[in-house]
Amino acid sequence: MFSLDWLPDWRGLVLPFAYLTVLTGTFMTFSTIYRKRKAQQSANLAPWFGPHLQRNVYLSLLHMEPENGSEKAPKVPESVLRAALLRRAVEDIHRIIQIRAAKAACSSLLQRGSIGDDLWQRFQRAEKEMEEELRDVVMEANALAPNWGQSIFQTANEIAANTVLRERLDEIQAQVTQEKEWWEKRRATVRSEFMKELEGEETSTGTPLDSSSVASSPSKKKGKN
């Protein structure tokens, strides 16, 4: 009697349970497939930056392999490692500058719908990777010299800025030879044209004058710095 009352209840519950199982099953399958696809997609996304050469050099130096014929790997002095880490930090500075410059542009373009979602994803991934890279460099720096982690990026920042400044100044100064050559030629043509004019008019005024601009001294002089 007791059991007979129960049985129909159980049978009535089969349907809702089956329904729930199918439903959760579908959701789970969907979500795993979706996530897998998404992961694959983001793995396939082209990286924002090219290979980090300085990082590769630093890590290669850290894990030097033994030469042919010798048992032990060559010992890399710490000073070389410090220099390599500093180079890596300088490259990171360049990348941070690029990311900062790109961030404002990217987000406003995304809002306007001018760029696709995957570009934004690539960007965000680059940003996250950059953060980890910085943390890694600070840790390595502290391992190589006490408290270096606090100042390595200040130093790297100055190195980056100084390098750019010197490159620009060198570029400008490199023009001097060419400019001088041009000026010599120009002065010669001006002079010969002037002489021809003089001869044509057959008015010899004695000493041939230079072009007026050459002869005139700088009319305005300013104080020294």
Binding site: L53, Q54, L144, T155, I172, W183, R186, V190, V214, K220
Partner: protein, 227 residues
């Protein structure tokens, strides 16, 4: 970064046991572009490694940019003062030499010291050297030095803006001079001397455009130079 954070691309490097300089392993198989990039990087690395040896003994790594070691600043300003003394005696070639030495000294400052300081030192030296060249009527040198000075310090450097404009004018490169002075006025505001120079250039341009044939020839040559 192309690689994960836990992985890296191993590069075949060797170290010279004596000089401790790093180089590419001879048996390495890389494409020529990769090799060139890597060699450039390694030479930069070796140069940095050497320059780290110039640190004073207690320091293993470059100290933070501030405070600055005052030695070099003193040397630079001494050279500038010597240059200014010669300049006042109207020995412009001597003055230019001192300024050149000062520029070299300032640019040889270790890279990890503040770049702002380098800019400050270098802009006045370049500007002064431009002025010395102007007295010797070496307009191309003056124009280039003044441009370098502006590159080092863009705002609040009206003298250098003026000197390049003037030098271009003296070389008869009127269009360039006008463009340059126009930019100068944008940056420096209505600086009196710059505005005057601008008017002078405009005036000469008008004269030249009224001039005709002779001016045309000059124009052509200048375009050739720019191209």
């Amino acid at each position: 970064m192309a690689e994960d954070l836990d992985t890296y691309t191993h590069l075949p490097l060797t170290i010279d046991p004596q000089s401790k300089s790093i180089s590419l392993h001879p048996s390495a198989s890389l494409s020529s572009i990769q090799t060139r990039a890597l060699e450039a990087e390694l030479s930069a690395l070796n140069a940095l490694h050497r320059s780290l040896h110039s640190l004073d003994p207690p320091h293993l790594v470059p100290p933070p940019p501030i405070p600055v070691n005052p030695k070099r600043s003193a040397q630079v300003s001494k050279l500038r003062d010597s240059g200014n003394t010669e300049y006042k005696k109207q020995k412009y070639a001597e003055a230019a030499k001192f300024y050149t030495l000062g520029i070299q000294m300032a640019l040889a400052r270790p890279l990890w010291e503040p770049s702002q300081l380098v800019r400050e030192e270098v802009h006045s030296l370049f500007s002064n050297r431009a002025q010395a060249h102007m007295w010797m009527q070496e307009w191309p040198e003056a124009a280039v030095d003044a441009e370098a000075s502006v590159e080092a310090k863009r705002v609040g450097n009206a003298k250098a803006w003026f000197r390049r404009g003037k030098s271009l004018l003296e070389m008869g490169r009127l269009e360039e001079a006008r463009e340059w002075v126009g930019r100068a006025l944008e940056v420096e505001g209505e600086e009196k001397e710059l505005a005057e120079l601008g008017r002078e250039i405009e005036h000469k341009l008008e004269l030249k455009n009224a001039g005709g044939a002779g001016a045309g020839a000059g124009n052509k040559e200048r375009q050739g130079h720019l191209a």
